[in-house]
Amino acid sequence: MNAAFIFDVVLAALVFTIATWIIAARDAFSAVVGFVAYGLLLALVWVELSAIDVALTEAAIGSGVTGMLLLGAASRLRKTEPTAVSVGLPMRLLAAVLCALIAAALGFLVLFPPGTIFTLAPDAMAHLPETGLRNPVAGVLFVYRAFDTLLEKVVLVLALVGVWSLALDRFWGGIPGLPVFEQPNTVLTLLSQLLPPLGIVVGIYMFWTGANNPGGAFQGGTVLAAMWILVMIAGLQHMPSTDRRMLRLLVVLGPAIFLVIGLLGFALAGSFLAYPPGYAKPLIIIAEAALTVSIGVTLGLLAAGPPERMARR
């Protein structure tokens, strides 16, 4: 019973309390604010579980960009809240019993794990020096399970196409409907002139250091996307219309280069996404750089939403 354990107990209790608040809050705005705080506390829990890459991803994507999307939706849907019909008490009790049973079953699995712990850490570390990377999570993401990462990136592009397809037909290729300041607000202008240079450096650093320390393309790309969204909301840059060729090229650049490197693996090393010996790290860095730019643009466009007006030609 030392200080670290007390800290962990308090953290777990806080996470559970905020989760209960999220479910029980009366209006959606309070629930979203609780969700953002919950995501940040969860990032602390990930650090306590020695998973720093996951903590960075949770703080950036799980709490940051998701919170922004939820906040925008909550503000737009504010008028619909009083008309919702709530669920009756018997249904609530039944649902509570069901959920408690499921939680108890999962908790039982946690409290009584199987006797032998099966772990892939020794296998992951055994082959890591050949790849030139020192961060084992980056090794798993880009060498051992590179196919999953390629598909994950393609899922992001598919989600973008799905969001764009929800626009009205006549607005296809138009400008996204992110609410922005039309006349630059002086207060926000100060922030969006001071923060983006720093943010871009931080984002690129997070991508670059992901090879050896916690970090990586997804975390760095999210910081870049956040800087772009800040500049667009402040009104300092116009939102691009979604039929611009450069924009679409940047979205596709990441997965395309990753796919090309994967196909080159057929010719140079024998199978899809295999790296020729000695060239693994340069190829991974090239793929990650393209992915960082692509993730930044895709996340920014996902946060901006479907097109809602046409550009004036």
């Binding site: 207060v187 926000l188 922030l191 001071l194 923060l195 720093l198």
Partner: protein
């Protein structure tokens, strides 16, 4: 020497958390949005500054210290901007306040 540094860290971090607590009490007890914003930004900035000051002897000099201080400066910047934006919005919503 390390004992003095440990005491310094403990005192500074305790003082910092005291200011955080004061800011939260202000959030809960002050009557309207503008006074609550004032309590939050002033007390939290000072609290974070004291916590960063207390942690400075424990990190590697210079880059660790540089990162901690830049975290404090960034929180000050974004906190001030956000407080100004919220206060502006509150002003516009209640012109008689």
């Amino acid at each position: 020497m390390t004992l003095a540094l440990n005491i310094f860290t403990a005192l500074a971090v305790f003082a910092g958390t005291f200011f955080f607590l004061a800011g939260t009490v202000g959030l809960l007890r002050f009557p309207d949005a503008l006074t609550r914003l004032h309590a939050l930004t002033k007390a939290d900035n000072l609290g974070l500054g004291l916590v960063v000051l207390g942690l400075l002897p424990r990190v590697e000099w210079p880059f660790g210290a540089f990162k901690l201080i830049s975290v404090w400066l960034l929180v000050q910047l974004s906190g001030a901007i956000v407080a100004q934006l919220i206060a502006d919005f509150v002003r516009r919503e209640e012109p008689h306040a």
